[in-house]
């Protein structure tokens, strides 16, 4: 099963290495990883998508990550109501005679054109990973020259649709 994990870390040199090294040592499969600064100075946040076999494995992962001295907080946010975003840049073979057709595919995905050549167009798509997968599948027949994805970053929504366990105790 896929899990979305966010890790809040102190922004020391080597901290990324520490976290990915740990995942490697404990044989976890990382599907994607993003990292960047947060609103707090000196604090960064990583978002992972990992593939694990069972609950026990994910519990181990969270505990092992929490144990790292430079890690402040680890959250498995998979079961929360979350916003997930990924960005993809896709260079598509788009000769002038097909461009209108291709753009009609791009529009519903709210993609934007960020570069254009004689026969190629580069689109930027932002959304959750499934949306990007779907877009790629639609555009593939036209010929993808180059593709790059950033990996997922995620947030817990302010208003949780599903009652969290804590709230249910209060009710």
């Amino acid at each position: 099963m896929k899990r979305v994990i966010t890790v809040t870390v102190i922004n020391q040199s080597g901290v990324l290495n520490r976290v990915t090294g740990l995942l490697m040592k404990r044989q976890f499969n990382i599907e994607s990883i993003t990292v960047g600064h947060t609103e707090q100075q000196g604090v960064s946040k990583m978002t992972f998508i990992v593939n694990v076999e069972d609950e026990a494995k994910i519990e181990q992962l969270v505990k092992q990550l929490s144990k790292q001295i430079d890690v402040i907080k680890v959250n498995d946010i998979t079961d929360k109501s979350i916003v997930m975003r990924e960005l993809a840049l896709i260079k598509v073979v788009a000769p002038p005679n097909l461009r209108a057709e291709i753009n009609s595919i791009v529009d519903p995905f709210r993609g934007s054109i960020i570069d254009m050549g004689k026969n190629v167009v580069t689109y930027q798509i932002v959304g959750n990973p499934e949306k990007i997968d779907a877009f790629i599948e639609l555009i593939r027949p036209y010929g993808i020259k180059e593709l790059t994805r950033t990996g997922v970053t995620a947030f817990v929504r302010d208003a949780q649709l599903k009652p969290s366990p804590q709230l249910s105790i209060l009710q």
Partner: protein
């Protein structure tokens, strides 16, 4: 800042000015020594080299006792032995590159066995880090998965804080090794004492839980009070928390039987009537059957290592598990746990002792365990041919030291025999490499233990092969007049390897028989150390007695029966109830 230094040389200053200057312009190296003194460090084990020359110069001028080992591996194992028996943090220093990489085995060993170490390594100057400079090794990268934490100092102003944090991290929570890598130019840099306030620890991501959750303690108590066949499994966590007294009080209060892990030995008197022995691969039959049959297993400070559990699917099949550990990641890692309790072992035992609860009638359970003990005690062959059986040699050492010596072993058959046949009277008297199983550990660790326990008998029981991995440290016995007694249980082979080849590889002794050995007595003699060789059981007692009673270092090359096995045994892949070699014949 650097420009000030030559200036100072050119113009001799008045005394007052010098004093002022010194305060304002300490080097990183001086800060290093000062920080060690602030930490109360009494002894450092190390080996110098180019990148640490500034640090060694500061040590020369402002001494903290430094022990020059003969190999960095010897230095770090000595620091481990010191840490194990004293409970204090062991301190190691080595140069960059090869000096640092020679420490890797010891760092890993300390990580696996949760020993508090602070390891200082030299590094090439920050200006050339990353250029494959002479004797550069990425020791921070190399030790990242084998340390509790590590640092490279990039600014001399950070040095006091980093050293403070390193000692704090190493010695609290689940203890472990911390590496501090100090580039040479940082050691030489001038520290501006006006720029910083007193160094304070700043570790927002590190807050070990020491106190148990009250509700979890309540749950544990209710489970224990229902248990008809309760059992305590006690590991080194109890020793690290210095909780032997509380443990003994707790089990005596309720008459609970106890088994130990290899590293937990000594947490309860080895002759205590509630103690069933070591459990696991070479544990006692009774200890393993107790785990197999218990209905509630209270694990305090052990991490359910595979050498202890055997086949996990068959481990403690009837038991509900309560697990007390200071490291939450150990709970539920290998064995499903009903009641997790994250806490320091002593705090948890005190919380348990505060509760008073009724327990079930345990008579039948004790009767069963007693029958196991009567029927399947530890045993070994002795065909009376005049040769020395290694188990008997250990029993003799036990008798002659009254079970009170500090015993240090290397890794192999002799280690298991010592664990089996040397019941410890006291805690903190047992030093062995458990998690990593590091050959070469024993002898230097005994040196460290002797530094920590200067007035006690420290005995290194080692194998002929493992001893040869670090025997260069013999020089230290002479140099520092350390009365360590070395007993080589010499079976002329890599005994433990040979045992597995005999048992699982149809006696194909591939590279496990050692045809050439040094003359160990002459070797000792060449270092100015008294050596004995014994081959006949009739001569053993007298030699052992003389060795143990001596106030000097002594080496005994004790030739033992070669083809003996450590019994009983849980074969790999088997469960604890499937031991082989449980009875003679």
């Amino acid at each position: 800042m650097n420009a000030q230094v030559p200036l100072k040389k050119q113009q001799p200053a008045t005394d007052q000015e010098v004093d002022h200057e010194c305060k304002a312009s300490k080097t990183g190296a001086e800060i290093f020594v000062e920080s060690l003194q602030n930490q109360g460090v009494e002894i450092i084990f190390g080996y110098p080299g180019g990148a640490v020359l500034p640090l060694y110069d500061a040590l020369y001028r402002n001494p903290v006792k430094h022990i020059l080992a003969r190999h960095e591996q010897g230095a770090i194992h000595a620091a481990e032995g010191y840490a194990r028996v004293s409970g204090k943090t062991g301190v190691v220093i080595a140069t960059s590159g090869p000096g640092a990489t020679n420490l890797v085995t010891g760092i890993t060993d300390a990580m696996m066995d949760s020993l508090p170490l602070v390891v200082f390594t030299g590094q090439v100057a920050t200006t050339v880090v990353g250029t494959d400079a002479f004797q550069e090794a990425d020791i921070v990268g190399i030790t990242q998965p084998i340390t509790k934490h590590n640092y490279q100092v990039k600014n001399v102003q950070d040095l006091p804080r980093i050293i403070k944090e390193a000692f704090h991290i190493a010695s609290t929570g689940r203890k472990g090794p911390v590496v501090v890598d100090i580039p040479k130019n940082i050691a030489n840099a001038i520290f501006d004492s006006n720029a910083v306030e007193e160094a304070t620890i700043n570790l927002p991501g590190y807050q070990p839980t020491l106190h148990p959750n009250y509700l979890q303690i309540k749950k544990a108590v209710s489970l224990l009070s229902e248990a008809k066949q309760p059992l305590l499994l006690v590991g080194a966590g109890v020793l690290a928390a210095d909780a032997s007294k509380e443990l003994t009080e707790f089990v005596e209060k309720y008459n609970f039987p106890v088994v130990n892990t290899l590293l937990g030995l000594g947490s309860i008197d080895g002759n205590h009537e509630l103690f069933l022995g070591m459990a696991g691969m070479h544990g006692t039959f009774t200890a393993n059957m107790a785990i197999n049959n218990c209905d509630v297993l209270l694990n305090i400070g052990s991490r359910f290592d595979d050498r202890l559990t055997g086949n996990l699917k068959k481990f403690a099949p009837n038991a509900k598990v309560i697990h007390i550990d200071i490291d939450p990641a150990e709970i539920g890692k290998n064995v499903p746990t009903e009641i997790p309790i994250v806490a320091d072992a002593k705090e948890a035992l005190l919380a348990l002792l505060e509760q008073t609860f009724e327990v079930q009638d345990l008579t039948l359970w004790h009767e069963y365990l007693h029958e196991c003990q009567e029927e399947y005690p530890l045993w070994y062959d002795d065909d009376g041919d005049g040769t020395i059986y290694p188990q008997y040699a250990v029993e003799t050492i036990h008798r002659l030291t009254n079970g009170e010596a500090t015993i240090v072993t290397d890794v192999g058959q002799h280690q298991m025999w010592t664990a089996q046949y040397y019941p410890f009277k006291k805690d903190h008297h047992w030093v062995t490499s458990g998690g990593l199983g590091t050959m070469g550990f024993g002898f230097p660790a005994a040196i460290g233990a002797q530094f920590a326990h200067p007035d006690e008998k420290v005995i290194a029981i080692v194998g002929d092969a493992g001893f040869q991995m670090t025997m260069q440290e013999l020089a230290l016995l002479k140099e520092f007049k350390l009365p360590v007694k070395i007993f080589i249980l010499n079976n002329s082979c890599l005994g433990m390897v040979r045992q597995w080849q005999e048992t699982f590889y149809e006696e194909r002794y591939s590279s496990s028989l050692v045809p050439v050995q040094p003359d160990f007595v002459k070797l000792a003699d060449s270092y100015g150390i008294k050596g004995y060789k014994v081959e006949k059981v009739d001569d053993m007692e007298a030699v052992f007695k003389e060795a143990i009673e001596s106030d000097e270092p002594v080496l005994v090359d004790c030739r033992v029966k070669e083809l003996t096995l450590v019994n009983p045994m849980v074969a790999p892949g088997k469960g604890l109830s499937e031991m082989i070699g449980v009875k003679k014949g």
